[in-house]
């Protein structure tokens, strides 16, 4: 095990405010948590780190009573506190502040602070002066200067975060779990939030802080617990919290040993050239994509990696720069223009953005290429026989397991649905594929099949731009990876350099040759 176990006497009070012992959580078919322990001291800001799927969310849900653990115990201030309902955890002083802060945007600050409690009344009407007076007291006790009449929707993200925390503290929460609170925050807003957190910690409140952003963790956390594959992978004190060991604990040794893509199928001809591309949160992005090449774009949420895909597919208008496709400038003002220019997109949220629910596999495959099956150009009647033949070919080539092409897409497994979504672009003549987490929510077997299909596309000379929320996929899929941070490309990795830890290090704002 990396790091040290919690046995150093420090200046903070030693009685753990929150303690998790030997937590185990099984789901049908998977073991989400295996013998996980965690100890948060009073007045401590404790970071909980790990990749997607490492078990952080499951652990939090077990602590706050949303899930019933299979085995293991939770203690609050030394008292047994394993809860089967969220209410039990709230009563014991545990509060969870979610990424989106659970506030109602159309109500005022005061109304949100009272949300869930009965409002004080007078003669059967709401006593508004009292509502605002208590809201002002709550905010003042945290040193927050926010008008209680303000609508939540008009406030800054850091103010929202603080109001959520204030709400938790006013409900007598001693242990506050923050789930990715800084995702929507700008750097100076993050600083303000951290100042407030330190002030509360000094008063004896404890924080369990979940984040992907290592730089921020190093800035704020007193200690850190790392989870990997549902197990403890290290506990770090402030003194031994260096970037290299933390990253190694997060990604494990497997990062270097995983079966990586060994040979590139890139050809010399450039299919797409991007120069100084700029969008709402990106600037100065330049790269080339060759036929048969698979380029990864990686970064933490909000780093700009995903935005590049949106800009190239015309979902977002670009603010500057140029894109040339097969030598011709491409405006890419809408998805329709991008498709006409030979670009395909597999969006991240399959169910919301890609699947035509209730429709057949045939209709789902042929949707963007219906113009190919017209009998004549005036009435645009469709030749159903030609459509069926062509879509059946696609489904076969994509190895979709199905009763037949008239089966509703909703009746397929996630992996097979994704093969249909990928396959729909084979008929549009697309030469550039933008893939955003193409293996999201599919099972392990289907993942391998989708990797194979991506490599087959590349073998056919298609240029692929690949993004994923799971860093371990980049070495398996990509020939090279552009790593984004703060809206810019901060590094390019090729071949054996593509490792999870290298990507993580660059994405967190570090330097590959700096070990500290």
């Amino acid at each position: 095990m990396d790091g040290t176990v919690d046995d150093h006497p420090t200046t903070t009070d030693l009685a753990p405010s929150l303690e998790v012992r030997a937590m185990r959580k099984e789901f049908p078919g998977t073991l989400a948590l295996d013998n996980v322990s965690l100890s948060v001291r009073r007045g401590e800001i404790h970071a909980l780190l790990g990749e997607n799927g490492a078990g952080k969310s499951t652990l939090i849900k077990c602590i706050c009573g949303a899930y019933a653990p299979t085995a293991g115990e939770v203690f609050v201030e030394g008292q047994p506190a394993t809860f089967s309902t969220p209410k039990g955890a709230t009563d014991a002083g545990i509060a969870v502040v979610h990424q989106h802060f659970n506030l109602v945007p159309t109500l005022t600050v005061a109304e949100n602070l009272w949300l869930g409690d009965p409002l004080p009344g007078r003669l059967g009407l709401v006593d508004w002066p009292r509502v605002h007076a208590r809201a002002r007291d709550i905010l003042a006790s945290l040193g927050l200067d926010i008008p209680t009449h303000a609508e939540i929707g008009s406030l800054r993200p850091d103010q929202l975060a603080m109001i959520s925390i204030a709400k938790a503290v006013s409900g007598n929460a001693r242990i506050i779990i923050l789930d990715e609170p800084t995702n929507a925050l700008l750097p100076h807003e993050v600083d303000r939030l951290f100042d407030q957190m330190r002030r509360l910690a000094a008063r004896g409140h404890s924080f369990l802080y979940v984040s992907h952003r290592l730089a921020e963790v190093f800035q704020i956390a007193d200690r850190a617990t790392v989870l990997r594959d549902g197990r403890n992978a290290g506990v770090f004190d402030r003194e031994n919290m260096d970037r290299r060991s933390v990253v190694e604990a997060i990604v494990g040794k497997k990062g270097a040993l995983a079966e990586r893509k060994t040979h590139s199928q890139a050809r010399p001809d450039v299919v797409m050239q991007v120069r100084d591309l700029a969008g709402a949160r990106t600037a100065g992005v330049s790269f080339e994509l060759r036929a048969g090449e698979i380029v990864g774009v990686a970064g933490l949420p909000g780093s700009g990696a995903e935005e590049v895909l949106s800009l190239l597919f015309g979902r977002e208008r670009r603010k500057g720069g140029s894109v040339t496709i097969q030598g011709k400038p491409a405006a890419l003002r809408s998805p329709a223009e991008a498709i006409a220019a030979g670009i395909a997109l597999v969006p991240q949220d399959r169910l919301a953005e890609a699947v035509f629910h209730g429709q057949s596999i045939r209709a789902n495959i042929s949707m963007p290429s219906l113009a190919r099956y017209l009998r004549e150009p005036v009435l645009r009647l469709i030749n159903r026989a030609a459509e069926s033949t062509a879509t059946r070919e696609v489904a076969t080539r994509m190895r979709v397991r199905m009763p037949g092409i008239e089966t509703a897409i909703d009746d397929l497994s996630g992996g097979n649905q994704q093969k249909v979504v990928l396959g729909r672009w084979l008929s549009t003549g697309a030469r550039i594929f933008l893939l955003n987490s193409p293996t999201a929510a599919v099972d392990v077997g289907a993942k391998a099949e989708i990797y194979d299909l991506i490599h087959e596309l590349a073998a056919d000379g298609v240029g692929v731009i690949f993004a994923s929320t799971e860093l371990e996929e980049y070495p398996l899929v990509c020939d090279s990876v552009l790593v984004f941070s703060g809206g810019r490309v901060v590094g390019k990795l090729t071949g054996v350099e593509i490792t999870e830890s290298n990507i993580m290090t660059l994405a967190a704002g570090g330097d590959l040759h700096d070990d500290h």
Binding site: F313, R315, S334, P335, A336, A338, I339, A340, L345, P347, A352, E353, A354, V355, F356, H357, G358, Q359, A363, M367, P368, L370, A371, L374, L379, R380, L381, I382, R384, D410, R424
Partner: protein, 326 residues
């Protein structure tokens, strides 16, 4: 995946429940009044009675397919009936060509209004329910203003126009033929053309269709134009049938029944999906209920109760099907 599965009653009822109740009602009425109800004459009678509702409901199906809503169809039906009669009265000509020209002109005007609806709903993203309600006020106001509240009388309307509502070809009433033609055209359009397929795509998942290069704006405008034109056509047939151009009260009777028919249709054969065949079943169901109960000598209020109950049953069967999916 085993074949030893119990019969899927929920699936069966959500697909065939409405057709089953249609057959059941026909059987009951035929048993009750065997000498009146199950005759060819009465069947044409039913079709004739529902033809106007059918034309309007078929048009409404198109705008629901793209996920929009149109509450102005009642006003548009009145618009079609009144302005066709008024233009013909002003032109004062019995020529078939003039009649044809006026019909085309009225439908074109209706399409224009529908396109405005579509543009406001898609480009500006207004709420279709409120926007089309507002449009129906405007259209009603225009009709009242132009007419001064006076009906165009039968004497001023050429016979060639009245034949659209009263004539027969090979014994089949003209409105029935128009209904069948509208049904076939819209079925071909929605099921077998690229535009129709794109409309279903938009109604199914607007973001996914945008990412497939399909323009919501274009098809919203197209769909609402078709809905408005069908509503005006229905009103025009009603006016021809009546032999009068009434400035009010024509379309209102069809507005809610058209929605009932289309929603019954959406729980027929393809649960949760608006389609021409389903709408046709919904329209027939309404026609059979109204005709059958009056043939049986049952009081009018029962028509409302039976129709409402069947709609609720249809909605329940459709929702049970979608609950099961989740």
């Amino acid at each position: 995946m085993t074949t030893e599965r119990r019969f899927d009653w929920i699936g069966f009822l959500s697909r065939y429940g409405t057709i089953l109740s249609l057959v059941l009602l026909i059987a009951i009425f035929s048993y009750g009044r065997p000498e009146v109800f199950p005759t060819i004459r009465n069947m044409f009678n039913i079709l004739n009675q529902v033809s106007i509702l059918g034309i309007i409901a078929l048009g409404l199906t198109v705008c629901l397919v793209v996920g929009l809503f149109d509450l102005s169809i009642g006003a548009m039906a009145t618009f079609g009936g009144y302005f066709a009669a008024r233009f013909l009265a002003e032109l004062d000509s019995g020529s078939v060509w003039i009649v044809a020209l006026v019909v085309v002109a009225v439908l074109a005007l209706a399409m224009l209004i529908g396109m405005i609806n579509g543009a406001l709903n898609s480009y500006l993203g207004l709420s279709p329910i409120v926007e089309t309600l507002a449009m129906s006020f405007i259209v009603t106001g225009i009709i009242l203003g132009v007419s001064g509240g006076r009906t165009v009388s039968s004497n001023d309307i050429p016979m060639a126009f009245q034949l659209i509502g009263q004539g027969r070809i090979y014994g089949i009433p003209a409105p029935v033929l128009i209904l069948i033609a509208t049904g076939i055209l819209l079925w071909l359009f929605l099921e077998h053309t690229q535009s129709g397929r794109n409309m279903y795509a938009i109604g199914g998942n607007r973001e996914a269709s945008r990412l497939s290069g399909i323009s919501f704006q274009k098809y919203a405008v197209m769909a609402m134009a078709i809905t408005a034109a069908c509503a005006a056509l229905g009103g025009l047939v009603a006016g021809a049938n009546l032999g009068a151009g009434r400035p009010q009260g024509v379309g209102d009777t069809y507005l809610l029944n058209a929605f009932v028919a289309v929603f019954i249709g959406a729980s027929t054969l393809r649960p949760g999906k608006f389609h021409v065949l389903g709408t046709a079943v919904g329209v027939l169901l309404i026609g059979v209920i109204n005709n059958g109960l009056s043939v049986m000598g049952v009081q009018t209020f029962w028509q409302y109760i039976v129709q409402g109950s069947i709609l609720i049953l249809a909605l329940i069967s459709a929702s049970m099907n979608s609950v099961r999916r989740n």
